[in-house]
């Protein structure tokens, strides 16, 4: 059992890195958003891993709270995305430069 502890953490780091890669490389707003979800999930995995291996409950409680935060983030974010789409622009992140400078 103890041998899997680094495995969980390395998997969590790998998932986080892939999510960050998606945020930086992809241009589609929806895919960027899904990559953020990926990063939040990787954080959850690390929290639950540490909760299990230190015999505490705090990690699980905060993973639950992170899930609630992610759900509300999705609600607001998707409302913003539909708003952007409705205003006549596409979903390309590189095209949204009104707030530059």
């Amino acid at each position: 059992m103890s041998g899997l502890f680094p495995g969980f953490l390395i998997l969590s780091a790998a998932l986080f890195a892939v999510g960050a890669l998606g945020v930086m490389v992809r241009r589609n707003l929806l895919v960027v958003f899904m990559s953020i979800e990926l990063m939040l999930n990787a954080g959850n995995l690390a929290l639950i891993t540490f909760a299990r291996y230190t015999d505490t409950m705090a990690g699980q409680v905060f993973a639950l709270i992170v899930i609630a935060v992610a759900a509300s983030e999705v609600v607001v974010g998707l409302a913003l995305i539909t708003g952007v789409y409705r205003s006549g622009r596409g979903l390309d992140v590189d095209e949204m430069s009104e707030m530059r400078e």
Partner: protein, 177 residues
């Protein structure tokens, strides 16, 4: 145990890669569902049964249905010319691999795991045997409503604000309003 971890880890990683590398947005969303299901299996391995169920219900259920719904709604704009092997993709991939390697080195060298399967020092009272004997959901609920009452209340406030914000943002504005 190790076999289940290996399979779930590979599936989770492939799902994550599928999110980032799929050409079509719908395939990204389906890869994300796969990733979340594999993560629920990993949560089960970590003695977090309640969170595995929540992961399936909230993420793979509610959140991803919302995503697929929005993708179907915005279908024309959801297609994307994906950058294939541009310099920023290569640099980003190298950075991601580097990050994973650094964290892996730190984990393998910096953290020592004792013979009983626990980290040295700082052990709390909630061993898996004790938690399972008392009841997983009971223990989590008691903790949530006593020690972590303030974060719990703040989360409820956050959900209210998110609901009000979503209603405001998705309100249909007429011209001149």
């Amino acid at each position: 145990m190790t076999v289940v971890f290996g399979i779930a880890a590979v599936v989770a990683f492939l799902g994550a890669l599928g999110v980032v590398l799929s050409r079509r947005t719908l395939y990204s969303a389906l890869s994300l569902v796969l990733n979340m299901a594999a993560l629920a299996v990993l949560f089960l391995l970590l003695d977090a049964q309640f969170l595995a169920a929540v992961q399936i219900i909230v993420y793979a259920g509610a959140v991803m249905v919302l995503f697929v719904f929005i993708i179907a709604l915005l279908a024309p704009a959801a297609e994307e010319r994906i950058p294939r092997l541009e310099w920023r993709v290569l640099l980003g991939g190298l950075a991601a691999i580097g990050f994973t390697v650094v964290v892996g080195r730190l984990t393998l060298n910096g953290i020592t795991v004792g013979a009983n399967g626990h980290l040295h020092g700082g052990l709390g009272p909630f061993s898996p045997q004790l938690v399972n004997a008392h009841g997983q959901v009971q223990t989590l609920g008691e903790q949530l409503f006593t020690t972590f009452l303030l974060p719990f209340e703040l989360t409820s406030l956050l959900l209210l604000v998110a609901a009000v914000g979503a209603v405001y943002l998705s309100r249909h504005r007429r011209a001149g309003e």
